[in-house]
Amino acid sequence: MSRRTRTIVGAAVAGGALLYLVAAGIGGNLVYFLTPTELIAKGQMAYGVSFRLSGEVVPGSVRWNAEAVDLRFRIRDEQNTIEVVSTGVPPQMFQDGMEVIVEGSLDSTGVFQSTNLMVKHSNEYGPGEGEEHPEKAYEGLLTKGDTT
C-alpha cells in the first residue's frame, strides 16, 4: 500500500468508528416528546421507556401531600388523560389548567412516574390576558413584611 492509500484507509476506519459511536450514542439517548394520546397509542412499547409527556393539568385533579413530598395529578390532551405521580416539590407556578411537561416513564399500572416536572414556558410574552397582579394575590405577604 502506498502512503496515500494507507492514510485514506486509516481515515475511513477512524471516521466510520466515530460515526458508529455517534449513531449509537444518539440512538441510546433519544428522549421523545409525546402527548397522552401518542403515549397510549404506543401500547405495550411505552412501558419502562423514558419519555417527555406534555399536556394540560386537569383542573381539580391535583393532590399534593407536602409531608410525604408526593404529588399526583392528571394531564390530558384533546382525547386522553393520564395519571401522573411526581416526586419532588411542584414549582411555584404549578396550578390547575396549565401546560406542563413531565419526564419519566409509564409503570405497569399505567401511571406515569415523573422524575422531573417542568412548566411549559411560552416564548411569547406580553401584556393583556397574561397580566397578573401578584401584589394583589400575595397581599398578605406584602402587609406582613412591609413595616413602612
Binding site: L18, L21, V22, G25, I26, G28, N29, L30, V31, Y32, F33, L34, R52, A66, V69, G88, V89, P90, P91, Q92, M93, F94, V119, H121, N123, E124, Y125, G126, P127, G130, E131, E132, P134, E135, A137, Y138, E139, G140, L141, L142, K144, G145, D146
Partner: protein, 673 residues
C-alpha cells in the same frame, strides 16, 4: 419621524455597501487603485450609516417613542434606563441591528488599519465584509425591520423579556457573543481574499492572528457569561445543559480554537494551508448556523424570541457562504497544497495536528447531536431531543484527551523529537499527574472521569510550570526578584507564554467543572418559618417570607439564615420576581460564594399565606474558579496580542528610570517569532 430616519439610514447603507463591494472588487481586479480607495470610503460611509441607525434606535428606546415598532415591543415606561439601553438586543430585530453594527465597526477598524498594507488583497477583504453586511441589511429592511411604524402609538409597552431584565450579566453576554461571532468574519474575509488572489501562503494567517484571538476571547467570555447567567437566574443550579443554543455558541468556539493552533503550524512549517482555510470557513459558517438556530424560532428557548420568517433567509445565506467558499477552495486546489511535510510523530506540529482532530471530533459529535432533533422532526414529525448523557459520554473523553495534549505539546520541539526519550521528557509530569490524582482522592474526589481530569490537569500543569520555573530560576540566579523575573520571562516570548496563561485558565476551568459537576450535594424541602435544612456542612434556616413591590416588578422574598457548626455565617434572600408581562415568576437564587464552594439557595415555591417556602439548596465545590478561569484566559490573550512596539518603548523607558537592572538587554529575538 424617528422610525423613518432609522429606516432611511439602513436603506441608504444598502446601496453604499453594494457599491463599496463592487468598487473594491473591480478596482482590485483592474489595479485601478482610485476605485479601491473609493470602495474603502464607501465602507466607512456604511459604518456611519449603520451607526446612525443604532443611535436612532437607542434614542427611540430611551425616549420611549412607542411609534417605533421595536420600542413598542420591548420598551416600557417602568423599565429602568440601563435595562432600556441594553434592550437593543432584547428581541429579534434589535439584535440583528446590533449584529450589523458590530460587523460595521469591525469592517471600519479593519479597513482603516490595513489601508496602507496588503494592497492587492485588501479590496477583497473589504468586499467580503461589505457583502456580509448586505445580507444583514436585507434582513433588516425586510422581515427583520425594527423601524416599523406603529399608528396609533401605544401609551406603554410590555418591557423586555423578564428573563433578560433580571440580571446584570445580560449587559455582558450578548455584546461579547456578537463581538465573538461577528469577529470571525474578519479572518474569514482574509481567507476569501487569499483564495481569490491565489496567495494562500502564511501572509493571511499572520494578518488575522490578532483578529482571531480577539474574536476567540470575546466568544469565550460570552460562553462564560451565558453559563454564569443561567446559574444565577434559571434556578436549577447548573451552568451548562447541552442545550442546542449552548452548542451553537460552543461549536464555532471549538473550530476557532483548532484554527488558532493550526495556523501556528502553517506559520512555522508551511503545512496545513488548505486545512486552515477550511477551518476558518467552517468557523464562520457555524456562526451563521448558530444565528439561524437561535434566531429562527426552530428551537424553543430564551434566545428564540418568537416565530419569525428570517429562518429561510439565514439558511439561504449559509448555503451561499458554503457554496462560494467551497468553489473558491476547489479553484485554488493547486496553490493550497502545502510544501511542508510532517517528519516526526513526536513533534510540536504532530501534537497540534492531533489536538486539531480532537477539536473537530468534538464539533462533529456536537453538531450531529444538535441537528438530529431538527432533522428527525422535519423527516418524521416526531418531537425528540438528544439527552445530556449523549453529550457527556461523547465529549468528556475527548476533552480529557485535549487536556492531556496540553501537557504534551509544549514539551515537544518543532520538526523532530530530537534528543531525550519519553521518560526524561515526561517522567516528572506523569509523577505530577499521579500526585494530583492522589491529592484529589484525599480531598474527596470520586469517580473515574473526575479523577482522571484532576490527574491530567496536574500532568499538563507540570509541563508548563517546569518550563516557566526553569526560565525564571535562571533570571533569579542573576539577581532579579522573582516577580520581575517572571514578568521579564513572559515578556521574552509573549505569544508563547500568553498561550500558557490561556492554557492554565483552561486547566482551571477543567478542575472547576469536574469538581462542581460531580461532587455536588442537593437538598430540597418545604420549610415553615423557623425550620432548618441541613446540606453538607451548612444549616439553612428559614426566618420568614415577605413580599415587596419594586419599580418594575413584585418580589416574594425568603429570608434565610445560613449557619455552619452552630455559628451564623450569613443572611441571604433568595426570591421570586413577578414581572407584569409574564405569569410565571423568575427565580432569583441567592448564591453564597467562597473559594472552596458555593452555597446555592433557590426558592422554588411558597404558600400564598407565607406559611411555608420550598427551598432548593445546593453545595457545589470550586464553582467560582470557573468564572475566574474566564479572567485568566482573557489575561493570557491580552499578554499574547498586546502590540510589541509600544511595549518595547515602555520597557526601555523603565530600564532608564529604575536603576537596579544590570542586564544589558533581555533576549528579544524569540518575541519576533
Amino acid at each position: 419621524m424617528t422610525a423613518q430616519i432609522g429606516y432611511l439610514a439602513l436603506a441608504l447603507a444598502l446601496p453604499v455597501a453594494l457599491y463599496g463591494a463592487l468598487a473594491s472588487i473591480v478596482g482590485g481586479r483592474t489595479e485601478h487603485w482610485a476605485l479601491v480607495v473609493s470602495g474603502r470610503r464607501a465602507a466607512l460611509a456604511f459604518v456611519g450609516l449603520v451607526t446612525l441607525a443604532v443611535v436612532v434606535m437607542e434614542y427611540a428606546l430611551l425616549t420611549h417613542d412607542f411609534s417605533v415598532g421595536y420600542v413598542a415591543r420591548v420598551g416600557s415606561l417602568d423599565t429602568p434606563p440601563f435595562i432600556t439601553l441594553i434592550s437593543l438586543w432584547a428581541a429579534l430585530e434589535g439584535s440583528i441591528l446590533f449584529w450589523l453594527w458590530v460587523l460595521a465597526l469591525y469592517t471600519g477598524v479593519c479597513v482603516w488599519l490595513y489601508r496602507g498594507r496588503h494592497r492587492e488583497e485588501l479590496p477583497y477583504v473589504t468586499a467580503t465584509l461589505l457583502l456580509i453586511g448586505v445580507f444583514f441589511l436585507v434582513v433588516l429592511l425586510g422581515p427583520g425591520n425594527p423601524f416599523t411604524l406603529v399608528d396609533p402609538a401605544p401609551l406603554d409597552g410590555p418591557g423586555p423579556n423578564p428573563l433578560l431584565q433580571n440580571h446584570p450579566l445580560m449587559a455582558l453576554h450578548p455584546p461579547t457573543q456578537y463581538l465573538g461571532y461577528v469577529g470571525f468574519s474578519v479572518p474569514y474575509a482574509f481567507a476569501i481574499a487569499a483564495l481569490v488572489t491565489g496567495k494562500v501562503d502564511a501572509w493571511w494567517v499572520r494578518a488575522v492572528r490578532r483578529w482571531t484571538l480577539a474574536a476567540w476571547v470575546f466568544l469565550t467570555l460570552s460562553i462564560m457569561a451565558g453559563g454564569w447567567w443561567a446559574y444565577e437566574v434559571l434556578g436549577w443550579g447548573g451552568y451548562w445543559a447541552w442545550d442546542p443554543v449552548e452548542n451553537a455558541a460552543l461549536m464555532p468556539w471549538l473550530v476557532g480554537t483548532a484554527f488558532l493552533h493550526s495556523v501556528m503550524v502553517q506559520e512555522r512549517r508551511e503545512m496545513l494551508r488548505g486545512w486552515n482555510v477550511a477551518l476558518i470557513i467552517t468557523t464562520f459558517a457555524l456562526t451563521i448556523f448558530g444565528t439561524f438556530l437561535t434566531r429562527s424560532g426552530v428551537l424553543g428557548s430564551v434566545h428564540a424570541f418568537s416565530e419569525s420568517p428570517i429562518g429561510p433567509l439565514f439558511l439561504g445565506f449559509l448555503a451561499v457562504v458554503l457554496i462560494v467558499s467551497t468553489a473558491l477552495v476547489l479553484w485554488r486546489t493547486a496553490p493550497l497544497k502545502s510544501p511542508g511535510r510532517l517528519n516526526a510523530l513526536l513533534s510540536r506540529e504532530a501534537a497540534f495536528l492531533v489536538a486539531n482532530l480532537l477539536f473537530m471530533v468534538l464539533t462533529f459529535t456536537l453538531f450531529l447531536g444538535t441537528v438530529f432533533p431538527l432533522v428527525a422532526e422535519a423527516a418524521t414529525g416526531a418531537k425528540v431531543s438528544v439527552g445530556a448523557p449523549y453529550f457527556n459520554r461523547m465529549t468528556v473523553p475527548v476533552l480529557a484527551g485535549i487536556v492531556f495534549l496540553m501537557g504534551v505539546g509544549p514539551a515537544l520541539p518543532w520538526r523532530a523529537s530530537g534528543r531525550g526519550g519519553l521518560g526524561s521528557r515526561f517522567g516528572k509530569s506523569v509523577l505530577a499527574g499521579v500526585v494530583a490524582t492522589v491529592l484529589a482522592l484525599i480531598l474527596g474526589g470520586r469517580g473515574f472521569w473526575p479523577l482522571l481530569t484532576f490527574g491530567l490537569t496536574g500532568f499538563a500543569a507540570w509541563t508548563m510550570l517546569s518550563e516557566v520555573g526553569k526560565g525564571v530560576l535562571v533570571r533569579v540566579r542573576k539577581g532579579e526578584s522573582p516577580f520581575v523575573a517572571l514578568a521579564r520571562f513572559i515578556a521574552g516570548n509573549r505569544r508563547r507564554y500568553g498561550g500558557y496563561i490561556v492554557h492554565s485558565g483552561v486547566l482551571l476551568a477543567a478542575v472547576a467543572i469536574a469538581a462542581s459537576w460531580n461532587h455536588r450535594s442537593v437538598e430540597e424541602a418545604s420549610l415553615r418559618p423557623g425550620e432548618s435544612l441541613e446540606v453538607g456542612r451548612y444549616s439553612v434556616r428559614l426566618d420568614g417570607v415577605r413580599g415587596e413591590q419594586e419599580q418594575n416588578r413584585f418580589a416574594v422574598i425568603a429570608d434565610v439564615t445560613v449557619a455552619r457548626d452552630g455559628k451564623v455565617l450569613d443572611r441571604r434572600a433568595p426570591r421570586l420576581n413577578f414581572y407584569p408581562s409574564q405569569k410565571q415568576p423568575i427565580p432569583t437564587p441567592s448564591v453564597r460564594t467562597t473559594a472552596r464552594e458555593d452555597l446555592f439557595l433557590s426558592m422554588t415555591a411558597f404558600e400564598d399565606d407565607g406559611s411555608s417556602v420550598t427551598l432548593k439548596v445546593i453545595v457545589m465545590p470550586l464553582v467560582v474558579w470557573l468564572w475566574v478561569s474566564g479572567g485568566v484566559m482573557t489575561a493570557g490573550i491580552l499578554v499574547a496580542v498586546w502590540p510589541t512596539g509600544t511595549r518595547r518603548v515602555k520597557s526601555a523607558d523603565r530600564r532608564i528610570i529604575t536603576p537596579p537592572t544590570t542586564e544589558p538587554a533581555p533576549d528579544r529575538e524569540e518575541a519576533l517569532v
